[in-house]
Amino acid sequence: MDPARRQALRTGSGMTLLALVAAAGWLRPEEAAAQAWNKSAFDTKSVDDTVKALGGSAPAQSKDITFVATPDIAENGAVVPVSIVSNVPNTQAIAILIEKNPNTLAAVFDIPAGTDPAISTRVKMAQTSNVYALVKADGKFHVAAKEIKVTLGGCGG
């Protein structure tokens, strides 16, 4: 075993192995990606249940969370661009919830210190629905919503 790694493992102090290895600067990105996946949160079928599964309750409506470059109408529900910017101080995580999807939670992003609390990605929408940007900041939950209409384009999509 590599001496640096052995050194890191010896330090103990109650950290998980993953954290120890990360601290030693030896964490390969594939291993970092082998993080836990919150299955229960991805199985929920309502906005309230999803918020609970993510550890929150009754999120406060916030004008400090905005959807940018996110169109009101998606020509096709298979690819809907969603960009969220959170100006809530100390944002720790941003989650995208799609109310009328078979499962509400689309994605959760953990924002480490130093990373802009802003995310751009693309999601699938089964039908016209409210899309919620759920933000966790200082352990509290905040939310903003936007309705996105989903259409079928011209000739049979």
Partner: protein
Amino acid sequence: MTAPMMRVAAAIAAVGAVVTFGAALAQDRTADEIAKYREALQDGNPAELYEARGEEMWKAPRGPNKVAFTACDLGQGPGVVKGAYVQLPRYFPDANRVQDLESRLVWCMVHQQGYTEAEATKQPFGNGSKRSDLEALVAYVVGQSRGMPMNVSLDRPQMKDMYALGEKMFFFRGGTHDFACSTCHGDDGKRIRLQDLPNLTTRHGAQKAYTTWPAYRVSQGELRTFEWRLNDCFRQQRFPELAYDSDAAIALTTYLAYNANGAAYDGPGIKR
């Protein structure tokens, strides 16, 4: 008309004008939002993933003869990809045929790499895990013409013939619904639901339409080539299937590509 009747008529006309105006306004807003959607998609085009795969495929020896596409002449010399797409279709003496990009790639697969025609055209259009090598190769080649002006030449008699055939096909009504391409694409201002239909008989319409294909079709989850677009139009018109690598497909492509001459090629694009 009596005076009261005229007043009623005027009132109806006024209401009609407001309703029309309101509907037009709503339609404009919708069009604006759709334009925003299309713009938001431009930021990250999965076509690039196909281009990367295609580039690797282009350089790798393949087939029974283990020959790479670097031996394939797309009209600018063996292996020359830059600027090749904007001069296609063209007549190739070695094949004695006018060929578009897809049929030329198939020709190289058969005559240089040693595949049979059936093997080469087994999967022209990808479907999820069933990938199409041709789609990736097409994405790579067209990407290498990005920004260059369309420059299809009808100098050769074979090209003139193909253009004339394509034009005839464009206006030919057939199938169960008596459709022609021109039914949807022969006039300005037509649309199907939210999809504006380009007028392909005008230079401007043909340029706008042709220069953004091939494209990653979001609704298909795949990069779609120009022969796919034609094949799907035939399907939607309830025509018999447009055969891949057929003279029919090449003729229509010749007609539309030449009509697009002068415009900067802007593909591979991304569409709904």
